[in-house]
């Protein structure tokens, strides 16, 4: 059915953008309001313990989504994990990008905008809770990935906006043995393609 009025692309996109922005803010507000509710109901809980456990729960859920998009036989396995982190972060209203390293088994994710610390401050959570909560999320994801794929991916936080750094930066590494495994996979895949013995 034809629209009665001419579609204004700017208006449509702007409306979506505003809604997306608002939804992100509501998500963050809800997170901290639930946190407050939990602390009110269980005053013996330490906020940091609660936050770390909550992010661990989230991490397990996130890893389930990631594993279906990962393929250990691809040489881009490590990069793909980083790419998924970038995507998740973007969905949450952050601005993140993948930064390739000169080293073959190393890749970085760098965030230059993150609205979470602002919400932490607004709701009286510490900046360290924000950093360590985020770390717990990623570490849980990586732990689950390692368990499923038998890999030894490591994630390390080298800079954090809530600690006053200009960016949040996370370094992802993998050992050579997995690199070799990639190469083997690649060779096998190539052999099959060319009908080798």
């Amino acid at each position: 059915m034809m629209a009665d009025k001419e579609v204004d692309p700017e208006k449509e996109l702007r409306t979506l953008l505003v809604k997306f922005d608002a939804l992100g803010n509501i998500t963050r507000a809800t997170w901290y309001e639930f946190r407050q509710a939990a602390l009110d109901l269980a005053p013996q809980l330490k906020p940091m313990d609660l936050a770390l456990h909550a992010w661990e729960v989230v991490g397990h859920d996130t890893s389930k989504a990631y594993v279906n998009s990962l393929d250990l036989s691809k040489p881009t396995f490590l990069e793909d994990i980083a790419r998924l982190i970038v995507q998740s972060s973007t969905m949450m209203g952050e601005t993140a990008r993948l930064v390739k390293s000169k080293k073959p088994n190393e890749v970085f994710v760098e965030w230059d905008r993150c609205p979470w610390p602002e919400f932490a401050r607004k709701y009286g959570a510490t900046m360290e809770e924000d950093v360590l909560g985020c770390d717990m999320w990623f570490q849980t994801v990586i732990k689950d990935i390692n368990e499923i794929f038998g890999t030894d991916v490591k994630l390390e936080t080298t800079a954090a906006i809530p600690r006053g750094d200009k960016t949040c930066t996370r370094r992802l590494t993998m050992s050579d043995k997995h690199k070799k495994r990639h190469e083997k996979h690649m060779a096998e895949a190539a052999g099959k393609k060319h009908g080798g013995r």
């Binding site: 692309p9 700017e10 996109l13 702007r14 953008l17 997306f20 922005d21 973007t90 209203g93 601005t95 905008r113 607004k122």
Partner: protein, 660 residues
């Protein structure tokens, strides 16, 4: 006790020009020689325990000098050891005799300058509890502003204790030697919380109708009067108009009932105020015309017989002078104008109007207080540094010949400060007028013309200190060879750049300066490329003309260079005028019918427009390398260093001026 001088203003030019300001007024049994009052203003200069500091004393001493015999009120004190009444981290305290020595020094400092020393009791009510986890009020009405603490409802016992604490603190003020006393009941502080139907929902004897809601005030006045005796004049500051209609605040008629009840309870003078901190209606920002609120003073004069005083956008002395002459006001109060220039009324009296450093009603002073920072002033670099010798201009040890390149606010501030120290200062300005970016900023709407007052002041000060002006002359390397200065001050301001993005040739860029000057040809759909002050000015001018305006800028918020206590005014106006904003965005390309905006989350949005106005500034300091090569001492100040605000320009100029 300090000797009280006799004030005779008869031969002073200001007294001839503004006769009503310089005639006596009687409050109870005290005759005050003029109609001027420095109104109590928090400054966060006291120590965290509420003791008066040397910084606070010197701040007040300067203001006491300024009122030339008039009233000078110290900031309101909090009165309870639990600190529920404390609204500011550096607020003075008076809940114990240990505070008496400091309060006595304060009274003496004020009296020592010949002013009438005034002491204020201020329980901050629902805006209190700054250092604890709650504040108190008559009823549990939740806060609308997040910066304030959760409210705890006062019991009858709390109320009686608070009244007693007022009386005890009042007695300490009297013992400290103050000559007048006042109770603050304004802007959302405790007294006003009881009076207002918005925050007082009590059903006991302290609530109910307006008379019941005023009972706390009446009991407080009576107890304070008992504590200070019959002689001392007792003032009160009360809201004439709360401007809280949207939440069911008092009607203006109810407010006048509170005035009458205060008078009946023994108040000798009423300071008329309007608005609450929680009100969405601005009362003291630059966009409010001066004298706007005088109708409330008139209402008060009609309601009560005691003298009536008022602050709130009465910066031009001609306005209160006329109001007093017309019989609608008795005393001219000032907070912000005397933060900007502590000697403002003295200069009025001496006929030096053009030497008054004008407040630009930006409310940076308030922004600092609400962020637990010491007072500072947008236009007065010495404010709150009165006690620090390193902030004062002292005669230069080595006299220098200095060239200032640029006649904007940074260059002019530097020029007169350096000249006052004995340097020979020449200001070169390539235009045939002074003011730099402020000349343009002053063409903005909604009171922005007041910004040029700063340039008028600086020009007058330059003239007083013998600065040489060379208008229409640009400083070049050749001129430096010719003039051979010891020092060069680069205050050359900014230029508006020429960015390169694909397709930019499709729409010639228009400069924001041409827009504010009215020189630019602009279509009906405009994109402003930038989000700081010049962009806001251009956007509002164009929106006011009915153009469809979209702002695209890289920062997270519009007006990143506007202080937090003023930006809400611009945001409200931009919203009201339908200006669309894309924050954290940039123009990625120009198309045949507009631009592509790269917005948040990598979203690309086509925005139709026929004109793009560029409003991003770049510093201009071409001379720096050439001057350094010639061995000339070089300092870069103001926007030439980093494009910022008028305040940064003034502060840069001043600090460089006292050090060179």
């Amino acid at each position: 006790m300090a000797h009280k001088p006799t004030w005779d203003y008869s031969d002073k030019p200001g007294a001839k020009r503004f006769p009503h300001l310089f005639k006596p007024v009687k409050i109870r049994n005290l005759t005050i020689p003029n109609r001027i009052k420095y109104a109590a203003t928090e400054d966060n200069l006291n120590d965290p325990s509420g003791f008066i500091t040397p910084a606070g004393l010197e701040y007040m001493r300067e203001r006491a000098k300024g009122v030339v015999g008039g009233i000078c009120c110290m900031q309101g004190v909090y009165m309870d050891p639990k600190r529920e009444g404390q609204g500011y981290v550096g607020q003075a305290a008076a809940w114990d005799d240990r505070y008496l020595p400091g309060l006595t020094k304060m009274a003496e400092a004020i009296k020592g300058e010949g002013a009438v020393s005034d002491y204020q009791l201020m329980h901050c009510g629902r805006v209190g509890g700054v250092d604890i986890d709650h504040c108190v009020g008559p009823s549990l009405v939740p806060q609308r502003l997040k910066i304030f603490r959760p409210v705890k409802e006062m019991t009858r016992e709390d109320i009686r204790r608070t009244i007693k604490e007022h009386a005890e603190a009042a007695k300490r003020g009297s013992q400290a030697g103050f000559e007048m006393m006042e109770i603050s009941g304004i802007v959302g502080y405790l007294l006003s919380n009881f009076i207002s139907s918005y925050t007082n929902r009590r059903t006991d004897e302290y609530g109910g109708d307006i008379e019941g809601r005023c009972r706390f005030m009446v009991d407080t006045i009576e107890n304070v009067r008992d504590a200070i005796g019959k002689e001392m004049p007792l003032m009160i500051r009360l809201c004439a108009e709360e401007l809280l209609d949207e939440v069911g605040g008092n009607t203006p008629e109810e407010s006048m009932v509170s005035y009458k009840l205060a008078e009946k309870a023994g108040i000798d003078c009423i300071s008329v105020t309007q608005g609450w901190q929680e009100s969405g209606t601005p009362v003291i920002t630059r966009d409010i015309p001066q004298g706007k609120w005088l109708y409330n003073a008139k209402r008060a004069k009609e309601a009560v017989k005691v003298p009536v005083s008022m602050a709130y956008r009465l910066f031009d002395p001609a306005i209160p002078n006329k109001a007093i002459g017309d019989g609608i006001l008795d005393i001219w109060e000032m907070c912000r104008p005397m933060i900007a220039d502590p000697h403002m009324p003295k200069k009025v009296l001496e006929g030096k109007l053009d030497e008054i450093r004008p407040c630009v009603a930006c409310n940076l002073c308030l922004a600092r207080l609400f962020r637990d920072a010491p007072m500072t002033c947008y236009v007065n670099p010495i404010c709150a540094h009165e006690s620090d010798p390193s902030w004062q201009a002292k005669p230069a040890e080595t006299k220098k010949r200095i060239i200032v390149a640029g006649g904007g606010p940074a260059g002019l501030e530097f020029a007169y400060v350096a000249a006052s120290r004995g340097h020979e200062v020449h200001v070169f300005e390539q235009e045939d007028r002074l003011g730099g970016q402020i000349w343009y900023a002053g063409k903005g709407l909604y009171g922005d013309e007041e910004l040029m007052g700063m340039i008028t002041y600086q020009q007058a000060m330059c003239k007083r200190h013998g600065v040489d002006f060379h208008l229409g002359q640009k400083v070049t390397p050749a001129l430096l060879d010719e003039e051979s200065p010891d020092s060069l001050i680069i205050a050359t301001g900014v230029k508006y750049g020429h960015p390169t993005v694909p397709g930019i040739e499709k729409h010639p860029l228009v400069s924001a300066l041409d827009v504010v000057e009215g020189k630019a040809t602009v279509g009906d759909r405009v994109v402003i490329w930038g989000g700081k002050k010049p962009a806001i000015s251009a956007a509002l001018i164009l929106a006011e003309k009915g153009k469809k305006v979209t702002m695209v800028f890289k920062e997270r918020k519009v007006g990143k260079d506007v202080n937090p206590s003023y930006i809400w005014r611009y945001i409200q106006k931009l919203g009201n005028k339908g200006v669309k904003t894309y924050k954290e965005a940039d123009i990625e390309a120009f198309t045949d019918d507009g631009v592509i905006v790269k917005a948040l989350y990598e979203t690309r949005i086509p925005v139709k427009c026929d004109t793009v106005v560029y409003a991003e500034r770049e510093p201009v300091r071409d001379l720096e390398a050439a001057a350094k090569e010639k061995g000339i001492e070089v300092q870069v100040i103001g926007d030439a260093l980093v494009p910022r605000s008028l305040s940064n320009a003034i502060h840069d100029g001043y600090r460089t001026g006292i050090r060179i």
